[in-house]
């Protein structure tokens, strides 16, 4: 039974919209008739720190936490956060990584260095990698906040949830006046993977 459970891990920096992406994914899975568990981050960790959120779905889900090495998808809104949480991804899982770099204060205050070879590292660590300029695409859509939904679109290609469930989940999770821009963001993300593949 456990083997049928799909695990999704979404990471980034507090404030980037990880919670919304988690909720959309969980609702899409519920709409598709699955049992679902999520885990989210609230409180202190949301203040610009590393953030990880997870969704698991299948016929029956016990643990809300994803065991190491089992996630089908790892989506990251920041490039080094993908590396930080790479241990969750299954060896043949899909990594969708926004190329955005957010420099931690530990770097700007001289306590640590931001690696300069991130792209090479990502390719070494993730055999299946979609590395996207989500911010530029979001800017073209005139709403930089949709970067998270662009990633959702990209990662949806590795998850067996019906398209209509994603759309309905987006409809339920965002205000009506933002429906269209988020649908377009989702489609942009999907096309990215299709054009790479």
């Amino acid at each position: 039974m456990t083997s049928e459970v799909m695990s999704v891990v979404m990471v980034g920096v507090g404030g980037q919209g990880i919670l919304l992406a988690t909720q959309i994914t969980a609702r899409a899975a519920l709409l598709a008739g699955h049992d679902v568990k999520t885990n989210e981050v609230h409180g202190m960790a949301q203040r610009g720190g590393s953030v990880v959120a997870q969704v698991r779905y299948g016929p029956k889900v016990f643990s809300p936490l994803v065991p190491d090495g089992t996630a089908r998808v790892l989506a990251s809104l920041e490039r080094i956060e993908a590396l930080r949480f790479s241990h969750f991804l299954a060896p043949d899982g899909l990594a969708v990584v926004s190329d955005q770099a957010i420099i931690p204060v530990t770097v700007s205050s001289g306590q640590a260095a931001y690696p300069t070879d991130v792209e090479e590292r990502l390719h070494r660590v993730f055999p299946k990698l979609v590395y996207v300029d989500a911010i530029s695409i979001a800017e073209k859509l005139c709403d930089t906040r949709t970067a998270n939904v662009i990633l959702l679109g990209a990662m949806s290609t590795a998850l067996s949830l019906p398209e209509e469930c994603w759309r309905e989940a987006i409809r339920q999770a965002v205000k009506p006046k933002f429906h269209d821009v988020n649908f377009r963001a989702f489609d942009e993300g999907k096309h990215l993977v299709e054009s790479v593949a």
């Binding site: 039974m1 456990t2 083997s3 920096v13 507090g14 404030g15 519920l30 598709a32 008739g33 049992d35 679902v36 568990k37 999520t38 885990n39 989210e40 981050v41 609230h42 409180g43 202190m44 960790a45 949301q46 203040r47 610009g48 720190g49 889900v61 016990f62 643990s63 809300p64 936490l65 994803v66 065991p67 190491d68 090495g69 089992t70 080094i80 590396l83 930080r84 790479s86 241990h87 957010i102 420099i103 931690p104 204060v105 530990t106 770097v107 700007s108 205050s109 001289g110 306590q111 640590a112 931001y114 690696p115 590292r121 660590v125 911010i135 800017e139 005139c142 709403d143 209509e164 469930c165």
Partner: protein, 598 residues
């Protein structure tokens, strides 16, 4: 596509408690914000027409309000985080004696792993200490069901009940079957009966005996409760598990026999004995303290627990896998695979701890405090983050309110440096007032700074007595820190705008050099809450920037050191202008004004 039945919705554990309270006819819900408990009351507020909700000034008040409601016959819940129960422990211990009339459930959320807390205390100790039942759900459906069960136990056995949540249950969402609201079961109306409700020694002695009789009855009820159940499987290994640990055990060892404990205290002794007899080897899996394990041993039953299961920090499937392997669980599925090793590519990444947001008003105060050789006794809130480099302006943190009282203690002890206490606005109303009164009364000389950002920010922007609004958004009084300072008898009171660095530093100098107590209120609203930029976005003029790094001392996440250059991340910048104020070469200029119109 298959459709979801309308009666099955995705709720977090916290939201499920609120739903359960509404369905069970609860009419009073109180609390004080604290991660991971905050969303219970925020979700309860949505049922405001049927259920009175309030953010109380602190957990003790919240508990007492709920206790009063219970004695008048209403069903009530009170919510708080684990350390909040320390504040509410006084009414808790004696309400155990007095007992309840309408059901009263205290929803207390522990934080194993200290994701957002200063300690990892285990609330189960309080149940045994106060001699009251404690229930522990393992998912959202149980959170809702156990809330109702708790109210029933409370009414049947005349006892407050604790519903113990943990971060992973509070903040995980899973499907919940929802129903309709039951009519409140009792009419409100307090029945005068002093021998029941007044624990003066004469009557308290009788109550003390009744508590023991009640405990015996509760133990019998726990043995037959559906909250506790045996799931027989492979008898070579039996696992006793409670709360979220049950879910991890089921995930990893689907074949094992499991005694799932949802009603933790009084312990279901008969069930434990029956289960132990039926298995060859017995393992207890519980998060934090070995409370169940020690009890199982006290029954004369051999078991393993803390010798294998980590007792510090949060459990997870990945942490439990080697434990279950060592305990001889059948190696199948996840347990058969070897754990993934940390990749070298992830070994040297820079840490990314939480930080004060861009344009946070606290940054101005911390920067200004950097001009003085002082000791800063801090407190619980966003401003706790001022402890990290490069600001490093918090020297102590203990508990809510201690930022004020400890400053006084250090000063009276003869600390040679000036002592400055710092608390937030919500923290001040929570438990700072008595400390301030103490300073005035006992002729202290500390400088107290209240960083008033007009909200309870760290927990997600809740109202408090100073905001002028209730949890329902209704207008109400807006208590001011300065008024309390005057009422306490503090003679020197000043208010500063923390974005005005010069004036802030000047005021702090006056206060810090004074040999009298000072109250400085640093007032500017949290921009993350108002969602209004403090000013226009800045950028660095590369010709003017001499890379002196003065701006980096602000610890602003929007100011980045990249490729030997300083730049402003314009998507993060909130326009507070502090960088421009500290830059000696005026290198921070307004960004070009390009905007991304919707």
């Amino acid at each position: 596509m298959s459709t979801t039945p309308t009666s099955r919705v995705l709720l977090s554990g916290n939201e499920a408690i609120a739903r359960g309270a509404w369905e069970a006819g609860v009419t009073i819900a109180t609390g004080y914000p604290g991660t991971p408990s905050t969303e219970i009351l925020e979700a309860a507020r949505e049922y405001g027409a049927d259920m009175y909700c309030e953010w109380s000034p602190n957990e003790k008040v919240a508990f007492e309000v709920a206790a009063g409601a219970s004695l008048s016959g209403a069903r009530a819940i009170v919510t708080m985080k684990h350390v909040g129960l320390n504040v509410a422990a006084d009414p808790l211990m004696t309400l155990s004696y007095v007992g309840t009339v309408g059901g009263l459930v205290a929803c207390v959320a522990d934080d194993p792993g200290m994701h957002s807390s200063q300690n990892e205390q285990d609330t189960r100790h309080y149940a045994r200490f106060a001699k009251i039942p404690i229930l522990e759900p393992s998912d959202s459906q149980e959170a809702k069901d156990f809330l109702t069960l708790g109210l029933e136990i409370s009414e049947r056995h005349r006892t407050p009940v604790i519903l113990r949540m943990t971060t992973r249950v509070s903040h995980s969402s899973s499907p919940v079957a929802v129903g309709e609201r039951a009519a409140p079961s009792r009419p409100a109306g307090f029945e005068k009966k002093p021998e029941r409700f007044v624990p003066i020694p004469l009557w308290a002695r009788g109550m003390r005996v009744a508590v023991e009789e009640r405990t015996a009855a509760l133990r019998a009820a726990a043995n037959s409760s559906q909250a506790n159940r045996i799931e027989w499987g492979d008898r070579s290994l039996g696992i006793i598990a409670e709360g979220i640990a049950y879910q991890y055990v089921r995930e990893l060892a689907p074949e094992a026999s499991v005694l799932k404990i949802g009603w933790v205290w009084p312990f279901p002794d008969e069930l434990i004995r029956e289960f132990a007899k039926g298995v060859k080897r017995l393992l207890v899996v519980e998060e934090l303290d070995p409370i169940l394990e020690e009890h199982v041993r006290s029954l004369g039953i051999a078991c393993e627990g803390r010798s294998l299961v980590p007792g510090i920090g949060e459990l997870s499937p990945s942490r439990l896998a080697p434990v279950l392997r060592a305990a001889g669980s059948a190696a199948s599925g996840l347990l058969a695979s070897s754990p993934a090793a940390q990749r070298p590519e992830a070994a040297d990444l820079p840490a990314r701890p939480p930080v004060l947001c861009p344009s946070c008003p606290h940054r101005g105060i911390f920067y200004a405090l950097g001009k003085f050789d002082i000791v800063v006794t801090g407190d619980i809130g966003c401003y706790s983050l001022g402890v990290f480099p490069p600001l490093k302006r918090i020297d102590t943190i203990l508990c809510m309110g201690a930022g004020i009282s400890m400053a006084h203690g250090m000063q009276k002890a003869g600390e040679p440096r000036k002592v400055v206490g710092m608390v937030g606005d919500s923290t001040f109303f929570h438990s700072g007032i008595t400390g301030l009164l103490d300073i005035a009364y006992n002729r202290g000389a500390a400088t107290i700074i209240v960083v008033d950002n007009r909200t309870t920010a760290m927990t997600g922007h809740q109202e408090h007595p100073g905001t002028g609004r209730t949890i329902a958004g209704e207008g109400t009084i807006a208590a001011t820190v300065e008024d309390f300072g005057r009422a306490c008898g503090i003679k020197n009171i000043a208010t500063v705008d923390p974005y005005d660095l010069k004036a802030t530093i000047a005021t702090l100098r006056t206060a810090i050099e004074s040999d009298e107590a000072w109250l400085v209120v640093s007032r500017a609203p949290c921009p993350l809450y108002t969602k209004i930029p403090v000013g226009p976005v800045h950028r660095v003029d590369e010709e003017l920037c001499k890379k002196c790094e003065a701006c980096l001392k602000l610890g602003c996440p929007a100011i980045e050191w990249v490729e030997e250059r300083i730049r402003v991340n314009e998507t993060l910048c909130g326009g507070c202008d502090l960088c421009a104020k500290v830059c000696p070469t005026d290198a921070f200029v307004l960004a070009s004004g390009e905007c991304h119109d919707q």
